[in-house]
């Protein structure tokens, strides 16, 4: 589903990604973990076609980036720590706007289904500026799943969420994974990553330093695997 070869990203003289290889099968849930500055967000921005690779190949769902970026974006849902919502529009208006941007049909029906899923039906006509951080993040997830994407990218989605909102996000992530969607999530929350993901990739100094599934971890927990990976990189 996602195929990345020899990916390099430079910002001026600074090289963030140094020939990174990455591969994700359809339906896999990959947690991308790593220290601050490892290049996790940059990598996700390249997958989301928000940044151009300096070198290397990126292919998602059989489409090449950046040449076939529009086709890739149609198959992607992105949730970041920023909700990407308009504070002066209501929840319903925000979703209507994004539904039009994605060229969707049956907009009202789909928005009603999404609002029900994220538990915001009763607040659908309230301005987003009146929402708590947790509610905004729920709506951000609703925005990202509105077009039923094949691949979902989550960039630190738990940032700033309280326990209830985090638990709700856990449920949404499980629902997305259970529906066979491919998920790549960056997170500093190793316990959550271990609970949700099927594979763990450690990104350090611009390359994947180690990769493991639950079976590979064995008796180790993710934290000790992560520490070993960083020590060896």
């Amino acid at each position: 589903m996602i195929e990345v070869r020899k990916l390099v990203k430079r910002f001026g003289l600074k090289t963030v990604l140094r020939g990174m290889d990455f591969h994700v099968e359809p339906g896999e849930f990959v947690a991308l973990i790593g220290p601050n500055g490892a290049g996790k967000t940059t990598f996700l921005r390249i997958l989301a076609s928000l940044a151009r690779p300096s070198m290397g190949e990126v292919q998602i769902a059989g489409f090449q980036l950046p040449a076939q970026a529009a086709a890739v974006r149609r198959r992607l849902g992105v949730v970041s720590h920023q909700p990407l919502l308009y504070a002066d529009l209501t929840a319903e208006e925000n979703l209507t706007f994004y539904a039009r941007m994605y060229g969707l049909h049956n907009i009202e029906k789909r928005i009603a289904a999404v609002l029900e899923m994220i538990g915001l039906t009763n607040r659908r006509r309230d301005l987003v500026r009146t929402y708590s951080r947790g509610m905004q993040q729920r709506l951000a997830i609703g925005r990202a799943v509105l077009h039923d994407p094949e691949v979902m990218l989550f960039d630190e989605p738990y940032t700033g969420l309280d326990q209830d909102a985090s638990a709700m996000l856990d449920d949404v992530l499980r629902t997305v994974a259970a529906r066979g969607r491919t998920v790549v999530m960056t997170s500093h929350d190793l316990a959550r990553a271990e609970d949700l993901a099927t594979r763990f990739d450690v990104l350090s100094r611009g390359v994947i330093a180690a990769s493991a599934t639950h079976e590979d971890l064995g008796k180790d927990n993710l934290l000790s695997f992560y520490k070993k990976a960083l020590a060896g990189s």
């Binding site: 928000l50 994605y102 039923d148």
Partner: protein, 248 residues
């Protein structure tokens, strides 16, 4: 607030992405309309942008009115200049704010994630910026007429204002997209914008002045042609480069 019920959202009945890929033209036009609709709806609620532009524009013509104290003949000759200085400065405020809203709340990324050619975002923003500028002009013109005792309601002048505003917002939207990435965006936009729109401001002032002073069409036509040419060329350039401007 109701407790979230996590169930299948019922989206599996959604149209396949491949089918949606087959309608690029329809999707493109819908996206342009969506961006313009979103900007107008948000502005209708907050009135942040229009109120700032309007107050600024009305203050400028009021200050010019007291500062110049002109006789009737001189008044007619400076009208075009005063009007376009007012529109240009008020327009800069609007352009800056319009892109800052997208950047500050991270919404620019949301727009860029849409599966359409990114020039659709540009054209949507141009339409909304143009509407804001025209609303300000529609309010400023009668206020100016009353303060300066000058009749500005001439079809020729209206045409020039429309052409000038189209060119100004076409260039301004592109440059504000560039300047919004910088920390000094408020200062940067006028520095980038005014040298580039200088030809359009000169042509607009000359053509407006021609209509106000009753000049012959042969004298006005070169300036109108310059305005039309500038509008077409810069819209085409913006269409071609917008994707590179917004991508990291």
């Amino acid at each position: 607030m109701s407790k979230p019920q996590i169930t299948d959202p019922g989206l599996s009945t959604a149209e396949t992405p491949a089918a949606a890929d087959q309608r690029p033209a329809t999707n493109y036009l819908r996206a342009i309309g969506a961006v313009a609709w979103k900007d107008l709806a948000a502005e209708l609620r907050s009135r942040e942008l229009l109120s700032a532009m309007l107050v600024f524009a009305l203050l400028v013509i009021l200050i010019f009115n007291f500062a110049l104290e002109l006789d009737v003949k001189t008044r007619t000759s400076v009208t075009a200049g005063v009007l376009w200085v007012t529109f240009a400065f008020a327009g800069t405020l609007g352009l800056n704010r319009s892109m800052a809203i997208e950047k500050d709340r991270g919404c620019l990324d949301g727009l860029l994630l849409a599966p359409v050619d990114r020039s659709a975002i540009y054209f949507g923003k141009v339409i909304s910026n143009l509407v804001f500028m025209l609303i300000v002009e529609i309010i400023v013109l009668p206020a100016y007429s009353v303060l300066y005792n000058t009749n500005l309601f001439q079809p020729g002048l209206m045409g020039v204002i429309l052409l000038g505003s189209v060119g100004y917002t076409a260039v301004g939207t592109l440059l504000s997209t560039m300047s919004v990435q910088a920390r000094t965006r408020d200062v940067l936009l006028p520095i980038l914008l005014f040298p580039v729109v200088l030809p359009i401001l000169i042509a607009a002032v000359k053509a407006s002045s021609g209509f106000l002073q009753g000049a012959e069409m042969t004298a006005i036509m070169p300036w109108l042609n310059l305005l039309i040419g500038y509008d077409v060329i810069f819209t085409a350039i913006a269409f071609m480069v917008f994707d590179y401007v917004v991508e990291e």
